[in-house]
C-alpha cells in the first residue's frame, strides 16, 4: 500500500510516517495541497492520502475537491488528519469528498483503526494481557 502524507508540519509528516511504515505502507510526503497534486503527476498513485486541513498555498479541503474532481485521482481514499475538531468542519470535509477524519492528537492505534475502517488494514488486532 502507498500513502501520501500531506501536512505543512515536517514533524507531523515524520510522525505519521512512523505510524504507517510498520503497518506496511510506503509513504511519500507533500507540504501543501499544490505540492501534493504535483507529486501525483510524477509517480504511481497512492492508495490513500492523509491530508491536513490548514496548509499554506492550497489547503486540505481544496486538495480534496481537486482529487475528487479529477478522474485520474478520484479513486484515492482520503483521510483528513487535522486538529480541526468542530463537527461542522468534519461535515464540510466529508461533503467535499473525504472518506474519513482523524483528529489530532491521535494515537497510532486510532490511525490504524481508521485505516481499518477504510478497508486499508485488517480489523484491529486484539490487545490481550
Amino acid at each position: 500500500m502507498k500513502a501520501l502524507i500531506v501536512d505543512d508540519s515536517r514533524a507531523m509528516r515524520m510522525m505519521i510516517k512512523r505510524v504507517l511504515t510498520p503497518l506496511g505502507f510506503d509513504t511519500a510526503e507533500a507540504g501543501d495541497g499544490r505540492e501534493a497534486l504535483e507529486s501525483l503527476q510524477e509517480g504511481e498513485l497512492p492508495d490513500v492520502a492523509l491530508v491536513d486541513v490548514s496548509m499554506p498555498v492550497m489547503d486540505g479541503l481544496q486538495l480534496v475537491s481537486a482529487l475528487r474532481s479529477n478522474p485520474d485521482t478520484r479513486r484515492i481514499t482520503i483521510m483528513m488528519v487535522t486538529s480541526e475538531s468542530e463537527p461542522a468542519q468534519i461535515v464540510r470535509a466529508l461533503a467535499n469528498g473525504a472518506h474519513e477524519y482523524l483528529m489530532k492528537p491521535f494515537t497510532p492505534e486510532a490511525m490504524a483503526g481508521k485505516l481499518a475502517v477504510l478497508g486499508l488494514l485488517p480489523a484491529e488486532p486484539v490487545e490481550a494481557w
Binding site: E100, Y101, G113, E124
Partner: protein, 278 residues
C-alpha cells in the same frame, strides 16, 4: 517499592477471589503499573503499601472494589474489531428480525460493557441500518463489574481521543454534539441503552434471554473454571437460536461443549448446539 513476590501472590489470589481475574507472575509489571497510580491517588506510599492494607482482615470494601476495578482493563473502542458489527448487520440482526417477527422483540447484551462504546456502536448500527425496528421492543443491555466505567457509559461523553478510535466520521457527525473538549452521544441513542453493575463470576441479576450476547475480551482474564461457569450461565440466558460473540483471542472450545463455533464474515460466532449438554 515494587511488590514483593509474597505481596504479588497475595494480590493475585485476592483478584481471583474477588473477580475471577487470573494474573500470572508474568503480569507483575501490569499489576504494578495499574496499582501504583491508585495507591498514590489514595495517599499510600506505593503499591506495596496498598496491597498490605488489602491484607488486613477488615480491609475497607471500597478499597477492595477500587483495587479490582483498576485491574479490569476497560480497553474498548467504538466498533472494535469491526467484523462482529459487520456480521451483526449482514446476518445476525436480519436473522433475528425474521425469527422474532411475531414477538417483535430484540434483545442484545453487552457483557463487560466497559465505558459503553460497544453497546452504543450496536445502537447506532441498528438506528442506521434497521429502520424496520421502529415499533419493536429493543433491549440493549450493558453490564460491567466496574461502577466507575458504567458511570461514564451512562454519561456517554467521550474525548476526541475516544471518538477517534473506530468511530466512522459520518457517525460522529450524525450522532454526537461537541461540548468543549468532549463529544456527547445523542440522547435518542443513549436512552435506548441500559447499563447495570454486574460481576459475571458472582450472583447474576434476573435477566431475560437474549438474541445476541457480546462477551468480548472478558474471558481472557479468567481462569478455565471461571470461563466455564460464565459460558454455561450465558448459555442459560441465550434464546435457543441465540448467538454469542467472543473476542478474537477467545473460544468456547476446550472449555464447554454447549456451543458450536460458526465461522462467519472473517470472525467466529457461537451458536447453541441443539440438545447440547446443560
Amino acid at each position: 517499592m515494587p511488590l514483593s513476590a509474597d505481596e504479588f501472590t497475595f494480590f493475585a489470589d485476592f483478584l481471583r477471589r474477588e473477580s475471577a481475574i487470573s494474573v500470572g507472575p508474568d503480569k507483575r509489571y501490569l499489576v504494578e503499573s495499574r496499582l501504583t497510580p491508585l495507591a498514590l491517588t489514595l495517599g499510600y506510599a506505593d503499591s506495596s503499601a496498598l496491597v498490605n492494607e488489602l491484607r488486613r482482615p477488615l480491609a475497607d470494601k471500597n478499597l477492595r472494589n477500587r483495587a479490582v476495578e483498576v485491574m479490569t482493563t476497560n480497553e474498548t473502542s467504538f466498533f472494535r474489531d469491526m467484523r462482529p458489527f459487520e456480521v451483526l448487520r449482514t446476518t445476525l440482526v436480519p436473522e433475528a428480525l425474521r425469527r422474532n417477527e411475531a414477538t417483535r422483540q430484540l434483545r442484545i447484551w453487552s457483557a463487560g460493557a466497559s465505558t459503553g462504546q460497544e453497546l452504543y456502536s450496536v445502537a447506532m448500527l441498528l438506528d442506521q441500518q434497521f429502520p424496520q425496528l421502529a415499533g419493536w421492543t429493543v433491549t440493549l443491555y450493558g453490564t460491567d463489574l466496574s461502577e466507575q466505567v458504567l458511570a461514564k457509559a451512562r454519561a456517554a461523553r467521550y474525548s476526541a481521543l475516544e471518538v477517534n478510535r473506530g468511530l466512522p466520521a459520518a457517525l460522529l457527525v450524525t450522532y454526537f454534539t461537541r461540548d468543549g473538549n468532549e463529544y456527547i452521544l445523542d440522547h435518542r441513542i443513549r436512552s435506548r441503552c441500559q447499563f447495570e453493575g454486574m460481576n459475571l463470576t458472582s450472583t447474576w441479576q434476573v435477566m431475560p434471554r437474549f438474541d445476541i450476547v457480546f462477551c468480548r475480551n472478558v474471558l481472557i482474564y479468567f481462569d478455565v473454571e471461571a470461563k466455564r461457569t460464565v459460558l454455561q450461565r450465558i448459555r442459560a440466558h441465550l434464546n435457543d437460536d441465540g448467538v454469542l460473540l467472543l473476542g478474537a483471542a477467545e473460544t468456547t472450545l476446550g472449555v464447554v461443549d454447549d456451543y458450536l463455533a460458526v465461522p462467519m464474515g472473517g470472525t467466529v460466532v457461537y451458536r447453541l448446539k441443539r440438545g447440547g449438554a446443560q
